[in-house]
């Protein structure tokens, strides 16, 4: 029989309760013997029995709850075990090849777009800037810079503005 201290016995009663049938089998005989001769253990056992009697009354009563709505549940689709089949290796390889072919093209296109945008922004006078848009802190542009910008705008207009004949065609 395993030796048991009163503290250890009370810890077992505290966690396992007063029912000897539910105590660990290796310590149950020792605990019973200790409860018979140790007043503190006996008191702990009596207290646990009282608590369990109170608990049993509470556990016996369950309010009537609404029945489970079976129809609402079976209206749902069941998850199928093979809902997401494993991809075959050749499919994976094909997907990887396709991905490998368009990704560099996408990167190159993005870079080209960025460079073109940066270049256009770097051009003096690029973008529609009205006099009101300039903050007081913006340094005034030199007359030559203004002239250069005007010239660039003129070239742009010449290239992209349709002639009268072209307007008719449009």
């Amino acid at each position: 029989m395993t030796a048991l201290t009163p503290d250890a016995a009370m810890a077992i009663i505290s966690s396992h309760g007063a029912d000897a049938a539910r105590w660990p089998a290796d310590v149950a005989p020792a605990l019973k013997a200790l409860a018979a001769r140790d007043a503190a253990v006996a008191a702990a056992l009596a207290e646990a029995q009282a608590l369990e009697a109170d608990l049993a009354g509470w556990l016996a009563v369950t309010p009537a709850l609404a029945a489970v709505d079976v129809a609402a549940i079976t209206a749902h689709r069941q998850e199928q075990p093979q809902e997401q089949p494993q991809e075959q290796p050749q499919e994976q390889a094909g997907r990887a090849r396709r991905s490998a072919s368009w990704r560099p093209a996408l990167v190159a296109a993005s870079l080209t777009m960025m460079l073109a945008t940066a270049g256009w922004l770097a051009m003096p006078g690029a973008g529609p800037i009205s006099p009101g848009d300039q903050s007081p802190n913006t340094p005034a542009r030199s007359p030559s810079a203004v002239a250069e910008a005007d010239e660039t705008g003129l070239v742009f207009a010449q290239v992209f503005t349709p002639t009268a004949a072209e307007e008719d065609l449009i």
Binding site: S15, H16, G17, W58, T62, P63, V70, T74, Q78, E79
Partner: protein, 197 residues
Amino acid sequence: MRMDARASGPGTAATSVATALMLRVADGDAAAFTALVRQLERPAQALAWRTLMDRAAAEDVCQRAFLRLWTHAARFDPARGTAEAWFRRILVNLCLDRRRAIRPVQAMADGFDMADPAPSPEAQAIAADTSARVEAAMARLNPRQRLALALFHGDGLSMAEIAEQMETTAKAVEGLLGRARNEMRTMMNETMNETGL
């Protein structure tokens, strides 16, 4: 909830009626599902109520647990345990997930209002008062402690079975139960002293 707890081991799964029904449910058999619900419903409601102590929450959790049982039926593996144990685990998880959304059920002082106010014999009054004190003390426990008490005392599960359901160790369950019982005893003694009973 006494859902065939003793037969929850892997080797005994095939003998469970619920497990046989569950295998049919996995094939989409709605009639088997209805039969399974009728078998597991009451103990499930009892466990949900004891853990959550809130009628609406308990009903909702039961509905969700059975919905999950239906939709995820294909995942059930009889080699790993009975349908009862599998379903109880779903229910326990939902109860524990739900617990954060629920406020403490009832303050200790309010617990006494639950006793039947009608005049009754002394024994009935004492019983009603005891029941109210237990209810109030349970309401103040941590839901995990309530769940452990309900599984141990209500369903008769062993420490190992509770540990499996709560995804913890048997040692941790022992500690949980020990603290739960100590707190309950303290709270009940306090109210007994306050009311002079």
